[in-house]
């Protein structure tokens, strides 16, 4: 079984963010980047499947040079090869153009399954995987919480999360695109052996021209959405911030909860 996994590099959720000077995006300099959370689960699922039934995992990422760090981590975890869509023409796209570019790269090879995360922690379109599926003409599912391959090798039994603590279970035909939700497995950590092995694994680079994509139809130029501005949300009601050392704020909070809010 050959599995393609799409991994995106996103700002660490722990990072303090600053709005860039043009007000249209965040300041990326000095920002720590990590693999998107649900993508780590997608990668783990792919590795676990190929360990069980044989085959290999190829990881795909679209982004600037720094993305190689994320790809190296995926290689260290066990992916056989990486494909880096590294071209400014492809940058800054919405889910539709980004999904089309990834699909074009995936379609250069033959795969039985494509796994993506459910949602990127930065732009969060929750749709790149569905676009890939649409381009390839494959079925897809979002928020996948379980995958079991059937004996015939041509179907999968998929568990998908629904709202309010319920899951839906269904069968679909392979090849398919499964958009994995965080929590479906326990992602492994890279070990030294893996990290050393990763150094010898290939990272292929592709640009818009290799994918047959016209510049006007790719990246920010091809995108139907234009970012006008980003800003910190104005506080809802705004919390009353308690200040002082731990003991002072603790006493003052308990007193306020008793006397002011009357909830204790």
């Amino acid at each position: 079984m050959r599995i393609a996994v799409c991994v995106k590099q996103v700002p660490d959720t722990e990072a303090r963010l600053r709005v860039a000077r043009d007000g249209k995006w965040i300041e990326e300099e000095d920002l720590p980047f990590v693999l998107n959370e649900s993508d780590e689960y997608a990668l783990e699922e792919a590795l676990a499947i190929t360990e069980k039934v044989g085959g290999e995992v190829v990881v795909f990422s679209l982004g600037p040079e720094r993305v190689k760090e994320g790809l190296r981590k995926a290689l260290a975890l066990g992916a056989a090869r990486a494909v880096h869509l590294n071209d400014p023409v492809l940058a800054g796209g919405d889910a539709v153009v980004t999904g089309r570019a990834l699909a074009a790269a995936i379609a250069r090879e033959s795969f039985d399954l494509v796994l993506t995360g459910s949602q990127s922690d930065d732009l969060g379109w929750g749709g790149t995987g569905s676009v890939i599926a649409g381009v390839l003409g494959w079925p897809s599912a979002w928020l996948v919480m379980g995958v079991t391959l059937e004996e015939d090798g041509r179907h999968a039994r998929v568990t998908r999360e629904m709202e309010s603590g319920m899951n839906e279970v269904f069968r679909l035909a392979l090849p398919a695109v499964l958009q994995v939700q965080a929590g479906l497995n326990h992602p492994r950590y890279p070990n030294l052996k893996g990290i050393m092995a990763a150094k010898k694994k290939p990272i292929d680079e592709l640009g818009a021209a290799d994918l047959g994509l016209a510049a006007a139809a790719a990246g920010s130029s091809g995108s139907r959405l234009e970012l006008v501005s980003v800003a910190f949300p104005s506080s809802g009601g705004g919390a009353e911030m308690l200040e002082g050392d731990a003991e002072t704020v603790a006493r003052s909070l308990i007193e306020k909860l008793q006397r002011e809010a009357r909830v204790l």
């Binding site: 539709v96 501005s229 800003a231 308990i254």
Partner: protein, 330 residues
């Protein structure tokens, strides 16, 4: 003939009822139609769903179109995209509005891709000013808000965040009901539905808890839960958590709060090391009093908290436990 100022609203339903988000989508669709000087209309796919079409027709809409067919017994992306995409391409409305749910996001981007449309999820605001129409949505886990403008040709599929547009603002009216044109052979289900099951381990009911102490990823590990447990014990509170805490196995799944967990509204909700992403806050924003403890003063959780403390929860929580014990003893 539908012009390109039309706004479609695709209604979601389950168990013979319109999803509550569908009414919010109608409200948002009416707002969008007003902003672009067009008309809103609804589309409903289902089987035996005439009564739902009738309830949608009680809103101020140009029409409600209904496809009643066995292919829509269960929602599947194949059925929905196969039915909607050809009409969407043919009629090219300006917008298609959906409630932002686990069902709609499952097919919306495929629909956009198949019909030459764009995809803009989780809209929380619509503004039309000098610069034209802009739509607002949270990004980066709710830490920032983005304003986006739609450009280019073709429809834009948008989903509206739950609670962002009040269903009460949807204006009433009386709309004609018409059949929705689709080709059944193009709209075939691509999933064989086997059933619905409760998420394993979901037993504990947190909705009755009066006080909840909730752990976020900021707690840092299963072995670092001690101070939180002690505070919960001192307060007589239940312990709950954000999703990453559960995904990492630090607490069992039945303690998760949020869109894929439980929805609670206790008297007091104390969030420690939780950033305040919308998928979490939908499950607790009805709490009477929210207290947030976070080392990042910019964490969005502070926007809905009544009291906030900026600092390391591993310092604050033990101090709080001590203060609670003193207050109770004295």
């Amino acid at each position: 003939m539908a012009g390109n100022h039309t706004v479609w609203i695709v209604l979601q339903h389950r168990d013979g009822q319109l999803h509550r988000g569908s009414r919010e989508a109608i409200a948002a669709g009416q707002r969008l139609a007003a902003a672009i000087g067009g008309a809103a209309e609804a589309v409903l796919l289902g089987l035996g769903t005439s009564s739902l079409a009738e309830s949608a027709a009680a809103f101020d809409l140009a029409r409600v179109r209904h496809a009643d067919h066995p292919h829509f017994t269960h929602y599947t992306p194949g059925g929905y995209v196969g039915a909607l995409a050809p009409a969407l391409r043919a009629e090219s409305p300006a917008f298609v509005v959906l409630p932002h749910t686990y069902q709609t996001v499952d097919f919306a981007a495929s629909l956009a891709q198949a019909s030459g449309a764009g995809w803009l999820p989780e809209v929380t605001g619509i503004e039309s000013g000098e610069g034209g129409l802009t739509l607002r949505r949270p990004i980066l886990g709710g830490k920032l808000e983005a304003q986006l403008r739609v450009r280019g040709e073709g429809p834009m599929v948008v989903s509206v965040q739950s609670g962002a547009f009040s269903a009460d603002t949807a204006t009433a009216g009386s709309a004609p009901i018409e059949p929705f044109p689709f080709a059944a052979e193009a709209a075939t289900p691509d999933r064989e539905i086997l059933g619905v099951e409760a998420v394993a381990g979901e037993k504990l009911d947190l909705t009755k808890a009066e006080i909840i102490v909730a752990a976020g990823r900021g707690v840092g590990g299963a072995d670092r839960m001690g101070p939180l447990r002690e505070l919960a014990a001192a307060l007589g509170a239940e312990i709950a958590a954000s999703r990453p805490v559960i995904d990492n196995g630090w607490l069992p799944r039945d303690r998760q709060i949020g869109s894929s967990g439980q929805t609670v509204a206790p008297r007091l909700y104390l969030a420690a090391g939780i950033s305040g992403a919308i998928q979490h806050t939908v499950g607790m924003k009805g709490s009477q009093v929210v207290v947030a403890i976070n080392k990042d003063p910019g964490a969005p959780i502070f926007n809905l908290a009544r009291y906030g403390i900026v600092g390391d929860l591993h310092d604050i929580l033990p101090a709080l436990t001590k203060a609670v014990r003193e207050a109770k003893g004295g």
